[in-house]
């Protein structure tokens, strides 16, 4: 066992080291895209309002935009290292405060979407692979393709019309009923966890009830990827040598399929979850907009609309970091589960 943990430690160290250049590239890209882009953060943020040139220059100098780009770049990197994502020009809030305040709702939504996609995608993919080329398999593949093809906002609007407006089963939008959660203290900044923390189950159920439609909408975006992945893996696994060997030992077909087929086919799903994080985050912008979900995506759109360069840059930087860190974590979890990865 000691040998194993040693190689695991080495693997983790290597994986962390690998993330650093990736973060650096991302930060550089974000900076280049937003700072070198035409337009000027200060005059842009002022919107249509007339400002005197002196006033603009004064603000620019105050924000440091009159310095050479390379200096600004250095500053930017130094700020990021200190988790300082800047101060919004439009709302005057620290971007890190905004992230803390709105991030929880996005985490809730993305997790809900992921759980929905896994709960639906894994069984459907397994059944489709097990009964390859059956009517169910054909149906499952078409379902995966259509849900993958249908844009989030179309699915979301449909779900709203059907399940909220027509049937009234779920609320139309938002994370909770108005005002209901106002007195929940922010411990984790994830509302549903905070409510559990103070044992306010009414709020917990209320959030879950609000979550179902947006989470399903977001989940449908990625469920096709899981169906496809699980199906292909299972088909390949069931063709594998050790599956045949298990049959040769007279293992019951059900055990062969479940213990050798399903289990081994599901290991790569962990990796695929990592790849879906980008899709989930992108999709959550549209979902949040559709369902008026008070998360980072909706906030980002508001910042963009007020042409708040600084806040946009801060948010995008943060999301970039999240993507890299999650993909790193997924790889490490994968190494913990599959003994072969570390070698």
């Amino acid at each position: 066992m000691s040998m194993k943990s040693g190689s695991l430690g080495r693997y983790i160290a290597m994986r962390v080291a690998l993330a650093i250049p990736m973060i650096f590239v991302l930060l550089t890209l974000v900076f280049v895209m937003l700072r070198v882009a035409p337009g000027d953060p200060i005059s842009a943020s002022s919107g249509g309002a007339k400002m005197s040139q002196e006033k603009i220059d004064e603000l620019r100098a105050a924000a440091g935009y009159d310095r050479p780009l390379i200096v600004q770049y250095g500053d930017y990197l130094a700020d990021v290292v200190r988790f300082d994502f800047g101060t919004s020009v439009s709302t005057n809030q620290q971007v890190s405060d905004v992230i803390l305040e709105k991030g929880g709702a996005t985490v809730t939504l993305a997790t809900g979407g992921l759980v929905f996609a896994l709960l639906l995608g894994i069984p459907v993919g397994l059944l489709a692979g097990r009964f390859r080329d059956s009517a169910f398999d054909v149906f499952a593949r078409l379902f995966g393709i259509i849900t993958y093809a249908a844009p989030v906002f179309v699915v979301g609007l449909l779900a709203q019309q059907l399940f909220a407006t027509k049937l009234g089963w779920f609320p139309l939008e938002g994370e909770t009923d108005p005002l209901i959660a106002n007195d929940i203290p922010a411990t984790t900044h994830i509302l549903i966890l905070d409510a559990i923390w103070v044992n306010d189950w009414e709020v917990v159920w209320n959030v879950l009830w609000h979550l179902i439609l947006p989470a399903a909408t977001l989940g449908l975006l990625i469920v096709g990827v899981f169906i496809r992945m699980v199906r292909v893996n299972l088909i390949q696994t069931l063709r594998g040598d050790y599956v045949e060997a298990a049959r040769a030992r007279g293992i019951r077909e059900r055990d062969v399929v479940v213990k050798h087929g399903f289990r081994n086919a599901l290991v790569p799903v962990i990796t695929v979850i990592g790849l879906q994080v980008a899709l989930l985050l992108g999709g959550s912008v549209l979902t949040e907009k559709t369902f008026n979900w008070p998360g980072l995506g909706k906030q980002l759109i508001e910042f963009l609309n007020s042409r708040d360069y600084v806040a946009v840059q801060g948010l995008v930087t943060f999301i970039a970091l999240v993507v890299v860190v999650i993909s790193m974590l997924i790889d490490i979890i994968n190494a913990l589960i599959d003994p072969r990865v570390r070698y």
Partner: protein
């Protein structure tokens, strides 16, 4: 949706391109022959997809003749269109709150989507292939940096990337269409880059490229042929799936309000977003028609891409299990017992058989593997 299917055709090795001399047309025919032979679900997807896509393209190309009015027309012959009228009469799909004719907006929207899609695919194909070739051909630090940048771009949420890009390009001359196309381009470059770089790299290492180089042929020509014949298999799949994603991304940008302005062109995502309040007032038509148009256009391209992928990727094709039925035995097995060991029958051109000595208990026959060699006593062998 920038993720490619996991079973995407991998570039084939040199085996698939053993005859680099053959002209591109033969190669094309070989690559696309499976399309005609496709069966089952792949066939259904391909042909449904082609039908939908064809319909979309026809509408887009002939929009000026098909659409009853202009995309920004709110009046005809000096007579203002009614506001939010339900479908029927002069306005088959009804009208919007801005007095636009929904049918015209949907038809013109197809044109916008096609323009953006074509521009985006061409841009990203061009840039992606170029960078992929450079990276794979020159290698070294250029390759390392490009790979890192492309991997990073690939891992980044595609819609955010497109939003940021749209934001960044919003002052580019040429209007919203080019802006939207450029924004979408950024998302797809890494995919072409990966495929082209991989096959360029393997081309550099292919032995026959070495051989051709040794004989004085220009390596660039050979690598070009090699890469082309590899890439031609996977690029159609990527391109159709990217076309689908381009339409989805354009509509997404429009839905968020970062796409094309309504005065520039008709755009489905924007129209859908504007129609949301109507839904609460039971005016279903303003949202339904653009919504259906978006889904159909994306679905058409996706089905073509998925069908192609299925067809070009043999391992995942539908199996045809051919069950054999063993016929009854025609002639029952004949067992004959002979009383004496046969004398070796002379084979043509060989010496008559030497009388065989029976010695089954040849010493050592069961000890070593070579024993039977000395013990065969095969007359013909000795005759040689």
């Amino acid at each position: 949706m920038a993720n490619l299917p996991t079973e995407l055709v991998a570039p084939t090795g040199p085996a698939g391109t053993a005859a680099p001399k053959r002209a591109g047309r033969g190669r094309l025919r070989r690559t696309f022959a499976p399309i005609l032979e496709a069966h089952g679900l792949a066939r259904f997807m391909l042909w449904t997809g082609i039908a939908i896509t064809g319909f979309f393209v026809v509408i887009a190309v002939f929009a000026p003749w098909i659409a009853p009015y202009g995309y920004d027309a709110y009046e005809s012959g000096g007579e203002r269109f009614p506001k939010q009228e339900s479908p029927g009469g002069d306005h088959l799909f009804g009208t919007t709150v801005q007095n636009f004719d929904v049918l015209s907006r949907v038809v013109w929207g197809a044109r916008t989507a096609l323009e953006v899609m074509v521009l985006a695919v061409v841009f990203s194909l061009f840039i992606g292939v170029l960078l992929g070739l450079l990276s794979g051909y020159f290698g070294g630090w250029l390759d390392r940096i490009l790979v890192l940048v492309m991997d990073t771009l690939f891992a980044f949420p595609y819609l955010l990337l497109a939003i940021v890009a749209a934001f960044m390009f919003s002052d580019v001359p040429g209007g919203g269409i080019v802006t939207a196309a450029l924004a979408i381009t950024v998302v797809y470059i890494p995919q072409y880059f990966r495929v082209v770089r991989a096959s360029t790299l393997s081309a550099r290492e292919a032995t026959y490229v070495e051989a051709a180089r040794a004989m004085g042929a220009k390596p660039r020509t050979i690598i070009g042929r090699y890469v082309f014949s590899n890439v031609i298999q996977s690029v159609p799949v990527i391109t159709t799936l990217n076309a689908a994603d381009a339409i989805a991304t354009l509509a997404g940008l429009g839905f968020l309000g970062f796409g094309i302005q309504p005065t520039e062109a008709a755009e489905w995502g924007y129209d859908l977003q504007r129609a949301i309040p109507d839904l609460g007032a039971d005016m279903w038509w303003t949202a339904t028609f653009p919504g259906v148009a978006i889904v159909l256009a994306i679905l058409g391209f996706t089905l073509v891409g998925e069908g192609l992928n299925d067809v070009l990727n043999p391992s995942m094709r539908k199996r045809r299990i051919r069950t054999v039925v063993i016929p009854p035995i025609a002639k029952p097995r004949q067992v004959v017992t002979v009383a004496a060991m046969p004398a070796a029958v002379p084979a043509q051109g060989e010496a008559p058989a030497v009388e065989q000595t029976e010695d089954p208990a040849t010493p050592g026959a069961s000890e070593t593997g070579d024993a039977p060699a000395s013990a065969t006593g095969e007359p013909q062998e000795e005759g040689k």
